[in-house]
Symmetry: C2
Subunit: 458 residues, 2 copies
């Protein structure tokens, strides 16, 4: 091993993993370092958040993905610092790794734009833990509503606000609409889940700003059929336990909603910030690092930055979006550039992004797609979506299982992974959830306690 060119890759997301795989059988030694032991298929994370899939079904152990690639090793570790002149990265446990070439694919994380306190009430959707937390919140809200008799309180528990109307927000709110209208249809005795209010809001003038306008309109119509209201031009001023305050046309309004989900934006990872500092690299306001046309950092030809962390420009000088396609193409490019350097020293021509288009799914068998300039919607778009996503899922097993889950969901309207886990379910106590003014009477009055609305059972 010792004498070969050492490539260190930070992050096992789409970009990092593609880079590692593109280095297979090349004359380099690859070390892939990630804080997680798995690659996560992020585009389907909203399905975990809404009980359609289990985390294990959209994750592939990095070791097993790379187990047959003899020149690659995987390390579980948290890269916290870099010494760009000494060419080494430092892990949280003070161990450092030297590199000849470094590929940084450290990704992004949820950003609250300075309102970190909102995180407690409005989880984002970037990790498995956040997704299961959202799943817990959504299912728990229906459970609480079933046990509450006060109509105002109940309404608040049955109101779901999704902040951010990009693809993630659209997909999430569509899935919540499906849960309320279809999955839980017959499951409750006191509430009608289909009366849930689902509100998708954004500061922009319309949803899906990265899509053509006609597709955004189609998406809005599909969402309306699932009971999702879209509110645009809305600025969020505050999020707390009881709901949120929003500003529209200089008027501030409160929305009482016990479930708020944040799909509002991302920022770069902590190591991304450190990297920019150590290399004096330029960044945009969300922290993305401005890279050369060959994806290296200015003055550091051995450090490639790819994926969500990179601010790369397309032919029109617009920044490339933070999507899997871009990360994957960049990973492959960085790998090729390194192989060239090792083999004959010739540089590659600058990175060019080949845009295959965008996709967003809106519930059962409905989606919008912008593929090679064609605008597609409805079932056709959904089939394209399913095909594209299945193709990218890394492992055979995941692919098969996810496909079967989809098929079953569409046949049965059921969602199998509806678990409320974690301590919140164990330490179950509605006192915490119901406003105090309502409790004392109920607690004392046995008859009133299981005060069930008998609309359905009478």
């Amino acid at each position: 091993m010792g004498e070969r060119w050492k490539v260190v890759i930070v992050g096992g997301g789409f970009g990092g993993l593609c880079a590692a795989q593109a280095l297979k059988s090349k004359p380099v030694d690859v070390t892939l370092i990630d804080r997680r032991n798995y690659h996560l298929f992020q585009p389907l994370l909203y399905q975990v958040a809404t009980g359609g899939l289990s985390p294990g079904e959209i994750a592939a152990p990095l070791r097993s993905v790379l187990s047959r690639q003899k020149n690659a090793r995987v390390l579980l570790g948290d890269v916290v610092d870099i010494d760009p002149s000494g060419r080494s990265v430092l892990l949280a446990d003070s161990v450092s790794f030297e590199y000849d070439s470094l590929i940084v694919a450290a990704g992004s994380q949820t950003s609250y734009f300075g309102h970190e306190a909102w995180q407690e009430w409005a989880p984002g959707l970037k990790s498995v833990e956040e997704a299961t937390n959202i799943r817990h919140k959504i299912l728990y809200a229906f459970e609480v509503a079933e046990r509450i008799s006060d109509p105002v309180q109940r309404r608040s528990w049955l109101t779901f606000a999704v902040v951010g109307a990009g693809p993630t927000g659209v997909e999430l709110s569509g899935a919540i609409g499906e849960i309320a209208r279809q999955t839980l249809q017959n499951d409750f005795r006191s509430i009608h889940p289909q009366e849930a209010q689902i509100i998708l809001m954004d500061g922009a003038p319309r949803l899906l700003m990265s899509f053509p306008e006609d597709l955004a309109q189609k998406a809005e119509r599909s969402l309306a059929k699932l009971g999702v209201q879209v509110k645009t031009g809305v600025m969020i001023k505050e999020i707390d336990k009881e709901g949120l305050a929003m500003e529209t046309d200089n008027r501030i309004e409160r929305l009482s909603a016990r479930t708020v989900i944040w799909a509002g934006g991302v920022t770069v990872s902590a190591f991304g910030k450190t990297l920019a500092k150590r290399t004096n690299a330029g960044t945009d306001k969300s922290g993305r690092i401005k890279v050369n046309p060959d994806l290296t950092i200015p003055n550091y030809p051995d450090i490639y930055v790819i994926g969500d962390l990179a601010l790369a420009l397309n032919a029109d000088a617009n920044p490339l979006p933070g999507v899997a396609q871009v990360a994957m193409q960049q990973g492959t490019y960085a790998a090729k550039a390194i192989v060239r350097k090792v083999q004959d020293g010739r540089p590659l021509p600058p990175f060019e992004y080949f845009d295959k288009g965008g996709l967003a799914v809106i519930g059962r068998a409905a989606a919008v797609a912008n593929i090679f300039g064609m605008h597609i919607s409805g079932l056709t778009a959904w089939l394209v979506w399913a095909f594209v996503h299945l193709r990218y899922i890394v492992q055979f097993q995941s692919r098969l299982l996810v496909f079967i889950q989809w098929a079953i969901q569409d046949l049965t309207f059921n969602r199998g992974a509806r678990l409320i886990t974690q301590s919140a379910a164990t330490d179950f106590n509605f006192n915490k959830e119901v406003s105090s003014h309502q409790r004392p009477d109920e607690a004392k009055n046995k008859e009133a306690a299981p005060s069930v609305d008998t609309r359905k059972t009478a």
Copy 2:
């Protein structure tokens, strides 16, 4: 609703759910209360603990299981007390529910026989959270071993001790053997996972005491093939971060093992203890409540106790085991007894358990079974096991998925649900894991840091 006979069921495990289903279309109103929103297929929980299945695949939402049963409602709640003379149960949030008949199927939980401190180092296997915790510990141990160069430390991380050699312990240790020998075979570069030591220990003179001796011997041989050593006649004296102390033949010995799993015993749930106190019921040493031949508590003909919480006797006056079969038959019996009481007041003949036999699986396509007095082992027993378990899984979706997962695992030796989730992976820091005497040198010496054993990559 109001005037009908009110049946409250505490617990949605095998017993409680069977009771609820047996009351379908009967002239009673059923309220099933559980702290969880799902029914858990406990016999496959060891598969979650060992990365073979995702939690969602062995859990079915209680609401969806009962959604078409119009006389049943499900409540998420924690029953903490009972007023047996006033015929009501109290929930943690001070809400109470009156009953005409009560079925208590509150189950059991892991017991450390007074050594509660061991819980921190040796998780049990009764809940989804415990299972994912064990999964995390097992996978994390291999990750740490891959990064440690000290052979003694590494050995300790690659030693897995399972305490308790009943069916759960046998299944768990067999599955760990499979992970080490097959699943992770090619995944590491510095360690050979198949060198892991797996030790199954028990105070009893042999494993699987509830099975005939010839089957226990066959199980031990199958385990040996997977690298599992069985130590019997061993008393655990201490469990801590570094391993455990055990006593054999009056000699105390330490075992250095960073992963210890507790399959050593169970006790009744907290509500079970309260119930015994309020009704002055007799209990055995693990807290099980002595019931009448009709499963009611002496002097409380309206309270049925079933499943792991009940101490019921078979025809030979031996206690019935705490297994799903017993709970299910008892649940059906209690439901029938209540219907009789409501309809014509006639009592049922005493409960009789129909024993179909016992099963334990030892890894891939091997098991032992004692069915209707026949002793079966190997592939035949595995097929019986697979059939029996699939039959009992509550939902169509779970059944199909579990079956496919099995088939794929057996074809590929792979395990798809190998996620290390929760904060332990995020706050990743090997400093905490490696003994302090080893750190300072390593931290300072960059060259020594990624000290990789190159046996395999050289």
